[in-house]
């Protein structure tokens, strides 16, 4: 039984964990995508399905074109992953509470074993960053030896998405706890940020003004994607130089 005083709905402007992505130096090299796949046991789906919009990427790098040859330019690459919205459209629409807001971490949790596959969340995500397990994709022996034991292996009919490598967050917190301290900024980072050769992805505590993410966010003119929808995303993009 929950006592009313236990209930504190958080609608703060800033969440807890956040990312700053510098599109000016992102080279679109896909290292983050590969790192994410390796860290989070993301399955590959093969040529036909991936071409039909069924790839399971938790992070994708978007790019468009401006102008006509020879004045043609590629717009700055834009890595897109779950924005961990403070006001997330995906959460309320799930009939099974399979995607809920973590009050502790201020993240959008995806509870795989609660998901029944109505796909409403993905439909309602303005960033279209959710990936659904359309089939039971096979990983032939011995590929499954590479599974990260800290990350659930998803099965057919379940929705999944970027978790900000929550398994790493928890590991770091456990370590910090056992050493009786707070998690230090930069003590750990997500797989994508860790791999990024350009350091275009920075991860950290957005609620701590002295953290690197907060610094970057404010020093460089960062923008949030589709901010006008009031989704309070926790990923900030730095467009220009």
């Amino acid at each position: 039984m929950i006592r009313p005083e236990e209930i504190k709905m958080s609608a703060e402007e800033t969440g807890k964990w956040g990312m700053v992505i510098d599109q000016d130096i992102c080279t679109g090299c896909q290292a983050c995508v590969a790192a994410c796949a390796m860290e989070n046991n993301i399955t590959f789906v093969g040529e036909v399905d991936s071409g039909y919009g069924r790839s399971m990427h938790w992070i994708r790098i978007e790019r468009f074109w401006e102008g006509e040859y020879p004045e043609v330019k590629m717009t700055p690459q834009q890595p897109m992953m779950c924005q961990q919205c403070g006001h997330a459209n995906c959460e309320p629409v799930c009939p099974a509470f399979a995607t809920v807001h973590s009050q502790a971490e201020q993240l959008n949790l995806q509870v795989y074993n609660r998901c029944v596959g109505t796909r409403y969340c993905a439909n309602n995500c303005p960033y279209q960053v959710r990936a659904f397990n359309w089939r039971d994709y096979q990983r032939p022996e011995p590929l499954q030896n590479q599974f990260n034991p800290d990350v659930t292996v998803r099965r057919m009919g379940v929705m999944e998405k970027c978790t900000f490598c929550i398994q790493r967050i928890h590991k770091a917190q456990d370590t910090a706890k056992s050493e009786g301290r707070e998690v230090r900024d930069g003590e750990f980072t997500t797989a994508c940020a860790q791999a990024c050769p350009a350091n275009a992805i920075v991860f950290g505590r957005v609620d701590q003004p002295e953290s690197l993410v907060s610094q970057l966010k404010h020093r460089r003119h960062g923008v949030k994607h589709l901010e006008e929808l009031g989704t309070l995303p926790n990923v900030t993009y730095i467009k220009g130089g």
Partner: protein, 176 residues
């Protein structure tokens, strides 16, 4: 101590049946010793009989209240039984407008279910025991079942015959 007999009078139409009811009353057969069975809903008024009492509306109302209660439970109480406060987006722990939907649907469900149930309760459905009945009834005949003193049987029979009864004969319960 006069013996009683159960009789039934078959009428082709509503008019003679109504007259018959009147006549029987005049002949001293009390209203609640009579029962009119018909293939179409002929109202008490048409037959000049006392209005029928039914509890269906009350049962319906009760069901509605019950259903509303279920709605209240689902919307306002169940969330407090969660293992921990579950937050979705920044919507309230107990969302406002959606509760209205739940309350409405549950109320309606309760009301309609109980209405249905009410019919069963009120008319003792299902009931497969032998009963006083004539198959002609569903062909549109109107049958007046009544109980009268043995002594009066012939007199009443004649009277009803005069009023257009196709036949007047003793009524026995039979399997439907």
């Amino acid at each position: 101590m006069a013996e009683k007999v159960d009789l039934l009078a078959v009428f082709p139409d509503l008019e003679p049946a109504a007259n018959a009811v009147e006549r029987l009353r005049a002949l001293g057969v009390h209203d609640d010793r009579m029962n009119v069975i018909s293939g179409v809903p002929v109202t008490e008024a048409m037959l000049g009989r006392a209005p029928q009492w039914t509890n269906v509306p009350r049962i319906a109302m009760g069901g509605a209240i019950l259903g509303f209660g279920v709605g209240v439970f689902l919307a306002y109480i169940a969330p407090f039984l969660y293992p921990y406060p579950i937050q979705v987006s920044t919507q309230g722990f107990v969302p406002g407008p959606p509760t209205a939907v739940v309350l409405f649907e549950m109320t309606m469900l309760g009301m309609l279910l109980s209405t249905f149930l009410g019919v069963f309760l009120e008319s003792f459905f299902p009931n497969y025991r032998p009963m006083k009945y004539l198959p002609e009834i569903s062909d549109g005949k109107i049958v007046v079942f009544f109980e009268c003193a043995y002594a009066e049987e012939n007199k009443i029979t004649d009277a009803l015959k005069k009023l257009g009864a196709e036949s007047v004969r003793p009524a026995e319960a039979q399997p439907l």
